[in-house]
């Protein structure tokens, strides 16, 4: 179904972090941007579609005007809003937002770090753009920060802090089908596998809470009202977001799942884990019976690699890209 293409070399190897690959497709300029986190640096590559031009940029997690402080970065992801795209970095010290090409930092939010370190680690992790004007970021305490994003400029403000989760946030995802009929806008996941389903607005509303079973949910997606969640047990579960009804459970991987992605136009699902495997699935919804089915399509083994990031490069799932721990390349696959 897919064959391997030429890999993109990156300046540093990828760190073993959940969801460690973000992709932004810029059709008007025939470019695709990729970001991969390496310790305290984000490697950004812009690749032209003809495969001839690559340019690299590195970003560090740094407080503005403080020369010596860098900290480990947990995640980097693009947030696509109707008016603008922003690149968000979450680290041990705080949250940074850049213009989509990484050229200018437009916002810095510092996390409350205690004077003497406590046993509980402090960091931000979990990034999602929601509806027209919000970016949500998760924190290790379980809190979720909701930022209000203006159509342009740097007048970004913290609108709300949601405190529903008690464990560290692992990942967040907004409804990606583009459908306006879906009631649920956002799903958040934590270290205990608990999932919260939200509706956005002036005040975010909690629609549903789906309990985990003390097993970390490392990656989550929301598509046509269905939550797709990947767990440390290697399982994938499909839930109806608003009701919490379990549609399907897949024993998908033999090790911890690190990344999930959905191609919204085709319903293809990508799962990647520490067991060196990337699997492609197909989701089908039958509105009449209110059921969602999942079928297996394809496997790809990246030998001797613990995969930490896997994303489709386009909305149909025609191509996908993969990163692995200690690997200094982004491996790409396209449909045959």
């Amino acid at each position: 179904m897919y064959h391997k293409e030429k890999s993109i070399q990156i300046k540093n190897s990828a760190s073993a972090l959940y969801n460690n690959l973000s992709v932004l497709r810029i059709a008007p300029r025939s470019l695709t941007y990729f970001t991969v986190v390496h310790a305290n640096v984000v490697n950004m590559v812009s690749a032209s579609w003809d495969g001839l031009n690559y340019s690299h940029r590195q970003l560090q997690s740094k407080e503005p005007n403080v020369a010596t402080s860098t900290s480990l970065i947990m995640q980097a992801a693009w947030c696509v809003l109707p008016s603008r795209d922003l690149l968000v970095l979450t680290s041990q010290k705080g949250i940074q937002m850049y213009e989509s090409d990484g050229s200018i930092m437009v916002y810095w939010h510092a996390l409350d770090t205690p004077e003497t370190p406590t046993a509980q680690a402090v960091f931000a992790r979990g990034i999602a753009a929601v509806r027209e004007k919000y970016i949500c970021v998760g924190v290790s305490s379980g809190a979720m920060l909701v930022f209000d994003i203006p159509t342009k400029g740097s007048n970004i403000t913290l609108a709300e802090v949601l405190e529903e989760h008690k464990e560290s946030i692992t990942d967040m995802a907004s409804e990606c089908s583009g459908s306006l009929e879906c009631i649920a806008d956002l799903v958040s996941a934590d270290d205990a596998g608990n999932l919260c389903v939200w509706k956005s607005g002036e005040e975010f509303q909690l629609l549903n809470k789906i309990p985990g079973f003390d097993m970390c949910c490392s990656s989550v997606k929301l598509w046509k009202g269905t939550v797709v969640a990947g767990y440390g047990t290697g399982q994938i579960r499909l839930y109806e977001a608003v009701t919490g009804i379990l549609h399907a459970e897949v024993s998908a991987h033999a090790r911890w799942i690190y990344s999930l992605d959905i191609a919204p136009f085709s319903g293809l699902l990508l799962s990647a884990a520490e067991d060196s495997l990337v699997r492609v699935w197909h989701l089908t919804q039958t509105p009449e019976t209110n059921s969602v089915e999942i079928a297996h399509m394809y496997n790809e083994c990246v030998t001797d690699t613990q995969i930490c990031g896997a994303k489709f490069c386009d909305g149909d799932g025609y191509a996908f890209a993969v990163t692995g721990y200690d690997l200094s390349e982004i491996i790409r696959y396209t449909q045959t």
Partner: protein, 371 residues
């Protein structure tokens, strides 16, 4: 990232160090008295309450340089002496072994079983010295207490922190290459077969449910691997069958093992000054340890990690003798100066043979003057 990595780092790296030293002492035909003394002295220092107290405080994982310094000091808590080149290679071996264990660790929780494997073997090394056994047991109990309640998510964060620490290290270890555990390019082999970790299902099944929660359909999919069901879980108690084999002594059969360096050490040799917190940690850890006064007792001996004395000398260059004198100078300073912890460490750094690439010791001294 995780604030609880240090205790596990020292138990596992320290454990690996003891495995290698034990093997080299036997290969060297060292007398049983000397061997026992070396092992007991190092274990006694590493598992002392003061040292463990410092490690158990929540803090970041610092640089390779700091760790190597503390581990060198630990080794020198005995009557044995290692020159810097030997210490470098010892450190590479220790770190690559631990990297392998952390990478292949089946579940994050099994990091504890790997640590307990190290503790079990160390306990065996000092079994004839009840005081040392007590210290190991006490440390073991504290580890069980501290880490027993962490969730899988928190333990995975700890593991991820360790993996960042080991990133980009691909030193080839001949024992690993021989056993096909490591590929010729230095990367570890990850098997796609065998039992799944405890608590994980064998991949291959899709189950679908109706809105009432009843399973309505089941189908299988091709997995591309050959996994079998998990075996029993290992014991997390003070004693017991750990089941997980990672962390056991792989040197227990006598091979004289050497390391081959694939490329020069990359990361930590930059001339940046140690951050202040890192230096403070170093001071506190060093303060918990005493260096044996080798010159006075006259029982010190050198140990080879290379195959011949000639190689040892070549690799050590002018280092070997200087480090002997370094020990004496430190003791002298201690007697003469009732100085702060930092000043004492400054003295040690000044006395260690310098890297041809730069005078890191001088930078540190200069920085300490400014503090």
């Amino acid at each position: 990232m995780s604030m609880r990595t240090l205790p596990l780092v020292f138990i596992n790296l320290g454990g690996e160090m003891l495995y290698i030293l034990d093997q080299r002492l036997r290969a060297h035909n060292t007398s049983e008295d000397n061997s026992d003394k070396v092992m007991n002295d190092i274990v006694g220092t590493m598992f002392s309450k003061a040292f463990m107290d410092e490690l158990l405080k929540p803090q970041q994982l610092y640089s390779h340089r700091t760790l190597k310094t503390v581990l060198t000091r630990l080794a020198h808590a005995s009557i044995m002496r290692l020159n810097p080149a030997s210490m470098d290679r010892l450190y590479e071996l220790m770190v690559m072994a631990f990297k392998h264990q952390v990478l292949l660790c089946p579940r994050p929780k099994d990091l504890l079983l790997i640590s307990y494997n190290h503790l079990d073997t160390v306990r065996e090394f000092v079994k004839d010295t009840p005081a040392a056994v007590n210290q190991v047991d006490e440390t073991h109990r504290r580890i069980i207490e501290t880490y027993g309640l962490l969730s899988e998510g928190e333990l995975q964060l700890l593991r991820q922190t360790l993996l960042i620490f080991f990133q980009d290290m691909h030193v080839r270890v001949s024992l690993f290459l021989k056993d096909k555990v490591q590929n010729p390019n230095g990367r570890f082999a990850l098997p796609a077969s065998g039992p799944v970790p405890h608590g994980i299902e064998v991949p291959g099944l899709i189950r679908m449910f109706n809105s009432k929660g009843r399973e309505v359909k089941r189908c299988e999919f091709p997995t591309g691997g050959s996994y079998s069901s998990s075996i029993r879980q290992g014991s997390f108690e003070l004693h017991g069958d750990r089941v997980v084999r990672l962390g056991r002594n792989m040197y227990s059969v006598c091979h004289p093992e050497e390391t081959h360096t694939s490329k020069p050490p990359s990361t930590d040799d930059s001339p940046n000054l140690l951050a202040k917190e890192e230096l403070n940690l170093l001071a506190r850890l060093m303060g918990c340890m005493k260096v044996e006064n080798v010159q006075r007792s006259g029982t010190g001996f050198r140990i080879n990690l290379f195959s011949t004395d000639k190689e040892e000398e070549e690799a050590g260059a002018s280092g070997a003798d200087d480090s002997m004198f370094g020990v004496i100078n430190i003791q002298a300073m201690q007697d003469v100066q009732a100085s702060t912890e930092l000043a004492r460490i400054a003295g040690e750094f000044a006395d260690l043979p310098e890297n041809p690439s730069g005078s890191k010791g001088d930078d540190l001294l200069a920085m300490m003057d400014d503090l």
